[in-house]
Symmetry: D2
């Protein structure tokens, strides 16, 4: 298996509790710890592009993500991303994507720093789909994998569903 590139952009995945302010905040990404927890033996290279809530993501941020995916040497890419605008970033990637890349976006509904997070399940799922799927842009959430233009987040249930 070729090396997989993981681009970290923040999102619920990486939210932490700041005990001095009592607020949720971003600090370092938890992705390396999650890979250790999963005893992952894939050849991966991790790059933190930004650490933001996806509701705060700008057009310039999305352009930076697209560019990172265009320029990296790896052809299998996983992006950790807030769920609220994950579909928007997937669309931007599909518009700018080189033909020879498999890109899978994933995220979490509960931060990994909480014991009850879905993040580890989703990361295992995204890394697996990224290895097998043909070129294209996908969203892996809730054990399922959707093509970028066939999915939406149901904001009332928090579930990603086919459209």
């Amino acid at each position: 298996m070729d090396r997989i590139r993981i681009f970290v952009t923040g999102g619920t995945f990486d939210k932490q509790y700041n005990e001095l302010t009592g607020k949720l905040a971003f600090n370092e990404t938890h992705v390396p710890e999650m890979l250790r927890r999963g005893r992952c033996r894939l050849d991966v290279s991790i790059d933190t592009l930004m650490m933001i809530d996806s509701l705060d993501m700008t057009g310039a941020d999305r352009a930076a993500i697209v560019q990172a995916c265009q320029r990296c040497a790896e052809r299998h890419i996983v992006i950790t991303h807030g769920t609220d605008t994950m579909v928007d970033t997937a669309r931007a990637l599909a518009a700018g994507l080189p033909l020879d890349r498999t890109i899978v976006l994933t995220g979490a509904m509960i931060p990994f720093a909480f014991g009850s997070s879905d993040g580890l399940f989703n990361l295992g799922s995204a890394l697996s789909f990224a290895q097998g799927l043909p070129h294209g842009v996908y969203i892996a959430m809730n054990g399922r994998c959707f093509q970028w233009d066939r999915v939406r987040k149901n904001v009332e249930t928090g579930i990603f569903e086919a459209v």
Copy 2:
């Protein structure tokens, strides 16, 4: 996506701490709770075939697993299994497999009941590989997926590696 059948056989995945005896033991499977934790939205049907340490698995137990895989209606199957003899069961399945099934075995090095388990990562991974791979028997561990006859467990490191 078609329904996925999950066959539970026990293994480290499902070991619990019995607080009265102070020993590890099997009780109910944690797989449904793990699917809830992962907010899994796949159509799955779960069947507990046995709840045993895979070192205690007999030829009759393996025959029962093969038969369950032959008889079930679903063509995508995930089996949770102890890691020590996972490769042996995979071999038995390959020998007796109908031609139209994709079977993925997975497990864990740390019980799910422990906070630091790799089980959720592996379950997300196995369910994802089961959806995309061609017919055959596979082992999904450590983020990777191996054909049944190209893998062994390194007993000194606990890692599954290609042979």
Copy 3:
């Protein structure tokens, strides 16, 4: 041992992650679950007076807490409370306290819903101090117990220290 009354007022102890809004919020108190986790066999009775961040606590809220402590039948009382204004509520209690009550306030720097919370340690500590201390108003945090007028929260470190 006589029955202990636990008054719940909210605070970090009970903050939860709301996965639909992505914000911290209050819902039900975790105190009963914490007592089960601790296998607590004390005779306790739990009353939720309010579920608020202690920075939002008003004079009327404090008066309600004082009144609840005056009126309850139990003479040993534990109050779960946000750390930011715990000392203020302790002062209000000391001013209005009947002479025959032992009241211990406690809280947490990390929500119980996070795996890494200090809440269980503090709850075990507060319930223990409440059993043995003479009448008065105390704050139990960080394994220590302070008289209400001899303590402050160091807002830079989050530690309660003697004054």
Copy 4:
């Protein structure tokens, strides 16, 4: 508050899952990590006397514990101990105790390495009782504190109860 001495002897508190053997085992004590989790600010000094299941504890082991309690400079002592023979060690301590020591034994029904452990609650409780109780030997479990000769472990429920 004077310094508290913590003597570690093993017990369920400190059992870990050995992922290569699939068995429970002792390695390093978790007490320092537990004190960090509880943000404990007491002046404590930790000494590991042994790391064993209390069912394996011999008369010589108990004599070593008694001697350690006799010789240490601190007058407030907490001992972490397996629950099965905790009462036996308490009796040995009471027989050999200097008159000026407060000794509190505590333990856990579930290992700290499991997310659902009662250990943090019990440790917070034991450290609190150790600060306030008069000289003597006590067992702190389930939020309660018993004099050494007024308690037994109910082996069917795992609960410590008064006799």
